[in-house]
C-alpha cells in the first residue's frame, strides 16, 4: 500500500517538474515585450470595452494612447467618452502629457414620430430589427427618415442608457448615456446624433431629419421639419443651417436662446431641461409656447422613472 503512494508521489512530481521545465522554455520563447505603461493606462480606463473611442476595447485604446504618446508626444484626437475628461487627464498624467478638454456629449434622438404624431399606415410583420425593417420599406409611419421603433439602438447600448417608450414607440436616452456612439452606428437611419450635453443639461435640437419637401413630410408626420427656414431666419447666432429642406442646429454655435423653438410651426425643435418660460408675449404666441414644453419635458421626467423602478 505504501509503495503505491510513494510511486504515485514520485511519478507525479517528475511529471510536474518536466512540465515546469517545458513551460519555462516555451514562455521564454514566446515572450512578448510590452510597454508596462500600456497596462498602467489600461488600468485607468473605465474597462467598459464599448468601443466608443474608436478602438477595439480599452486595451486597444491604451495601446494607441501609448503609441501616440511615444511617437507624437500628444494625445490630440483621442477621447474616452465613457470616462470623460477626468479619465483622459489621468491617462495623460501617466504618460506625462496633458489631454485636451472635451465637452461632454450625449446621444439625442432626432425623431418625434410617435404613434400619435405619425400614425401607422401599414403593419410591419417581421423580425424586430430596424436594419431589416429599413431595407423592407419606409416603415409603419411611411416616413422614410423616421424612427422604425424596433430598438436596434436599445440592443446596441452597453450601458442600459436607452430604452423604448411603450407609449410613443420611440427610444428615450437616459442621463447615464456616455456618448459611446454605439446607438449612432446601430441606427440604420442615422437618427441618433451625439451632441454636447450643454450647460445644466440644456439642449436645443431639431427633432427631425426628414429631407422631403414640406408637403410629403407633413403628410406622414405632424411634427416633421418642413424646411420653412423660419428658425434659420430668427437665429441671431447663425447656428442654424438649412440643407435639403431640413434645419440643423450647430451645437457649438447655439447659445440656447430658444428663439427658434417658438418660431417652429411644426414644433419640430425641441428644448430640454429649460425652466418654464415666462408668458409675457402676445396672446397669439401663447398656444405655441407651452406646447413644446410638455413634449420636451416628458422625456426628462421619464428619464428618472425607470431608474427608480430598477433600484
Amino acid at each position: 500500500m505504501n509503495d503505491v503512494i510513494i510511486y504515485a508521489v514520485i511519478s507525479l512530481s517528475l511529471v510536474g517538474a518536466a512540465a515546469a521545465v517545458v513551460l519555462y522554455f516555451i514562455a521564454q520563447k514566446f515572450k512578448v515585450i510590452e510597454d508596462p505603461k500600456i497596462d498602467e493606462v489600461e488600468e485607468s480606463l473605465p474597462a467598459a470595452n464599448c468601443g466608443g473611442c474608436g478602438f477595439p476595447g480599452c486595451r486597444g485604446f491604451a495601446e494607441a494612447l501609448v503609441k501616440s504618446a511615444n511617437e507624437k508626444q500628444s494625445l490630440d484626437g483621442f477621447n474616452c467618452p465613457v470616462g470623460g475628461n477626468d479619465t483622459m487627464a489621468t491617462a495623460a498624467g501617466i504618460l506625462g502629457l496633458v489631454a485636451e478638454e472635451k465637452e461632454p456629449q450625449i446621444a439625442v434622438i432626432r425623431c418625434s414620430g410617435s404613434c400619435e404624431n405619425a400614425p401607422k399606415k401599414i403593419n410591419y410583420d417581421g423580425p424586430a430589427t430596424c436594419a431589416f425593417a429599413h431595407s423592407l420599406s419606409s416603415g409603419e409611419s411611411g416616413c422614410p427618415y423616421g424612427c422604425l421603433g424596433c430598438g436596434d439602438c436599445v440592443t446596441a447600448c452597453d450601458f442600459d442608457a436607452i430604452y423604448m417608450d411603450e407609449e410613443t414607440g420611440l427610444p428615450i436616452v437616459k442621463d447615464n448615456c456616455v456618448a459611446c456612439g454605439a446607438c449612432v452606428t446601430a441606427c440604420p437611419r442615422d437618427i441618433i446624433e451625439l451632441r454636447n450635453k450643454g450647460k445644466k443639461d440644456r439642449r436645443i435640437f431639431v427633432s427631425c431629419i426628414n429631407q422631403e419637401k414640406g408637403g410629403p413630410a407633413k403628410k406622414n408626420c405632424k411634427v416633421a421639419c418642413i424646411g420653412c427656414s423660419k428658425c434659420f431666419k430668427v437665429c441671431p447666432f447663425d447656428a442654424i443651417t438649412m440643407n435639403n429642406n431640413l434645419a440643423y442646429i450647430d451645437y457649438e454655435k447655439c447659445k440656447l436662446c430658444r428663439k427658434c423653438v417658438v418660431e417652429c410651426p411644426t414644433k419640430a425643435i425641441h428644448e430640454l431641461n429649460f425652466p418654464p418660460r415666462k408668458e409675457k408675449k402676445a396672446p397669439a404666441d401663447k398656444p405655441a409656447k407651452p406646447a413644446p414644453k410638455p413634449v420636451a419635458e416628458k422625456p426628462a421626467e421619464k428619464k428618472e422613472e425607470p431608474k427608480a423602478e430598477k433600484e
Binding site: 401599414i122 410583420d125 423580425p127 436594419a131 420599406s137 419606409s138
Partner: protein, 446 residues
C-alpha cells in the same frame, strides 16, 4: 415515359393556386394618369429627358439609361408630362417618377401596330443588340436585368445554348403561362432573334409539366424552327431561378459568384422573348406587359396587358375591387414578391403579378425556438445552411455570414417556407447579405 428533369439540390412544393390559368389576356383600358419610375431596371437609374409640360407620344423616350447596366424608359401613353416628382413606388420608398396625364392614344409613327406576324429576321446581330437596348427591354421574370447586357458575351466566353424560362414556378402567377399559349408564334420568333443576337444554334424552352397545354402547344409551334426544343420539367420550386433552370435543363451548375455564361448558357424569360420580338420586328419599346391579378379573396382573377405606370389600384378595380378583408397586397409571386405599402403604386417592368391575401393568410406563423431539424438545409436549392447564416446575421457576425456563402443565396424563400419553427430565416439572411455587400464594397474601395 422518361424521368422528368429538374434541379439537383433542395426545392419545395408550395400549393400551386393557379386560379387565373384559364383567363385569357385582356388589355386593360387606358388609365387617366400614369406614374413611370425612372429606375426600373437593375443598375444605374436612368436620366429623365422630358420636362414638365412636354407633350409625349406612346413609345417616346422619356428617360435614357446612360450607364452600361441601365435601360431606356419610354412613355406608355400619350399626353402631357404633369411633373417629375418623388412618388411612393413598389419599393416602399419615394422614388423619382415621371407623371403623365393621358390624352388620347397617339403612338409614335415608327411603331408597327399591326398584329400581322413578321417572321423574317432581317436585323444583324449588332442591330438586334442595339435595338433591344434602344427599346428598353429588361428581363421580365422579375429581376429586370437589362437584356442587351445579357446578349453581350464577355471576351473569352462563348454562349452555347439559350435557355428560355417558361417555368413560372411561383404559385398563383399565370402571366407567362397565358403568354406562351396566346403569343407562342411571336415568342418563338423572339427566341430566334435572341439566338441570332447571341450567335447560338440551340435554345431550350423550360416548362414545368403542370402546364401540359403549353408544352403541347409549344411543341407544335417549334417544329418549324430548327434548334428550338421544349423541355418538360418536374414541378419543383424554385425551378425558375436562373441557376436552377440551367441545372435542370442542361445539367450544368453555375459556380458560386459566377454568371450563367460561365457554363455557356444565357437565360431569358418568355416575356422577354415576346418583348424582343415586338422591339426588333415591330419597333415597339417595352411599354406594356402581362400582369396576373389574383388572390383567394378576390371575386375574379385575370391576366391583363397593362401599360407601364398604371396604378395597381386600377388593376384591382378591374377584378372587382379590393375586398374588405385584404390584409396584404404583394407585387410578384407569394414566394419572392414584395409586399406593397399601398395599392396606389405604379406597375413597372418587373411586375409579374398582383396578389392579395386576406387577414389569416397575411399573418406570419408564430416564431418559436429552432429545433435544428435541418429542413431548411434540405430544401435550400443552393446547398447552403440557412439557419446558420440567419443566426450569424442575427448576431452581427458578418464575416461568418460571408464565409457561409450567403452571397450565393437566391432569396427563393424555401427555407422560411419550410421552417417548422416559423423563423424568419430569409429576413435575417437578407439582412446579412445586405451588410456583407457593404463590407465587400468597402473592401474593394480599399
Amino acid at each position: 415515359m422518361s424521368v422528368l428533369k429538374t434541379f439537383k439540390i433542395g426545392g419545395v412544393h408550395p400549393p400551386e393556386c393557379k386560379y387565373s390559368a384559364g383567363e385569357a389576356i385582356k388589355a386593360l383600358e387606358l388609365p387617366k394618369q400614369v406614374t413611370i419610375p425612372i429606375a426600373q431596371s437593375l443598375g444605374a437609374p436612368s436620366k429623365a429627358v422630358v420636362a414638365k409640360g412636354d407633350e409625349v407620344k406612346v413609345g417616346q423616350l422619356i428617360a435614357k439609361g446612360e450607364a452600361f447596366i441601365s435601360s431606356n424608359i419610354h412613355s406608355s401613353v400619350s399626353g402631357k408630362v404633369l411633373k417629375l416628382d418623388e412618388v411612393l413606388d413598389q419599393s416602399g420608398y419615394r422614388r423619382p417618377c415621371i407623371i403623365i396625364n393621358v390624352d388620347g392614344d397617339e403612338w409614335d409613327e415608327n411603331i408597327d401596330r399591326s398584329t400581322e406576324l413578321k417572321k423574317d429576321i432581317t436585323a444583324t446581330k449588332e442591330e438586334i443588340i442595339k435595338k433591344i437596348q434602344e427599346m428598353g427591354i429588361v428581363g421580365l421574370g422579375g429581376a429586370t436585368f437589362p437584356s442587351h447586357v445579357k446578349l453581350m458575351v464577355p471576351d473569352g466566353k462563348k454562349a452555347e445554348v439559350l435557355v428560355i424560362n417558361g417555368v413560372e414556378c411561383e404559385p398563383y402567377l399565370t402571366a407567362d403561362h397565358r403568354l406562351m399559349l396566346e403569343m407562342a408564334d411571336e415568342m418563338v420568333i423572339g427566341i430566334q432573334i435572341l439566338m441570332k443576337g447571341l450567335d447560338v444554334k440551340r435554345a431550350i424552352v423550360g416548362v414545368e409539366n403542370n402546364k401540359p397545354d403549353v408544352i403541347e402547344h409549344l411543341n407544335n409551334r417549334v417544329k418549324d424552327y430548327p434548334g428550338i426544343e421544349v423541355c418538360a420539367l418536374k414541378v419543383q420550386y424554385p425551378q425558375g431561378g436562373e441557376k436552377q433552370l440551367i441545372d435542370a435543363a442542361i445539367g450544368r451548375q453555375v459556380p458560386s459568384g459566377k454568371l450563367p455564361i460561365e457554363v455557356g448558357a444565357v437565360v431569358n424569360n418568355v416575356g422577354t422573348a415576346f418583348a424582343v420580338y415586338e422591339a426588333v420586328q415591330k419597333n415597339k419599346p417595352l411599354i406594356d406587359r402581362v400582369v396576373t391579378v389574383t388572390g383567394k379573396n378576390l371575386k375574379e382573377t385575370g391576366n391583363f396587358m397593362v401599360r407601364i405606370g398604371t396604378s395597381v389600384n386600377e388593376l384591382i378595380e378591374k377584378v372587382g375591387g379590393l375586398p374588405e378583408d385584404t390584409a396584404k397586397v404583394v407585387s410578384g409571386g407569394p414566394m419572392m414578391g414584395k409586399a406593397l405599402n399601398s395599392t396606389d403604386v405604379p406597375v413597372v417592368k418587373g411586375t409579374s403579378g398582383i396578389l392579395t391575401f386576406e387577414e389569416g393568410e397575411a399573418k406570419r406563423v408564430e416564431t418559436t425556438n429552432c429545433i435544428r431539424c435541418a429542413k431548411c438545409i434540405t430544401v435550400c436549392p443552393m446547398g447552403l445552411e440557412p439557419v446558420l447564416i440567419a443566426q450569424y446575421a442575427g448576431n452581427e457576425l458578418y464575416e461568418n455570414v460571408e464565409a457561409e456563402r450567403a452571397m450565393d443565396c437566391i432569396e427563393c424563400g424555401s427555407c422560411s417556407y419550410t421552417c417548422p419553427a416559423g423563423q424568419p430565416l430569409l429576413d435575417y439572411i437578407r439582412l446579412g447579405k445586405y451588410k456583407v455587400g457593404e463590407i465587400i464594397r468597402n473592401r474593394s474601395k480599399k
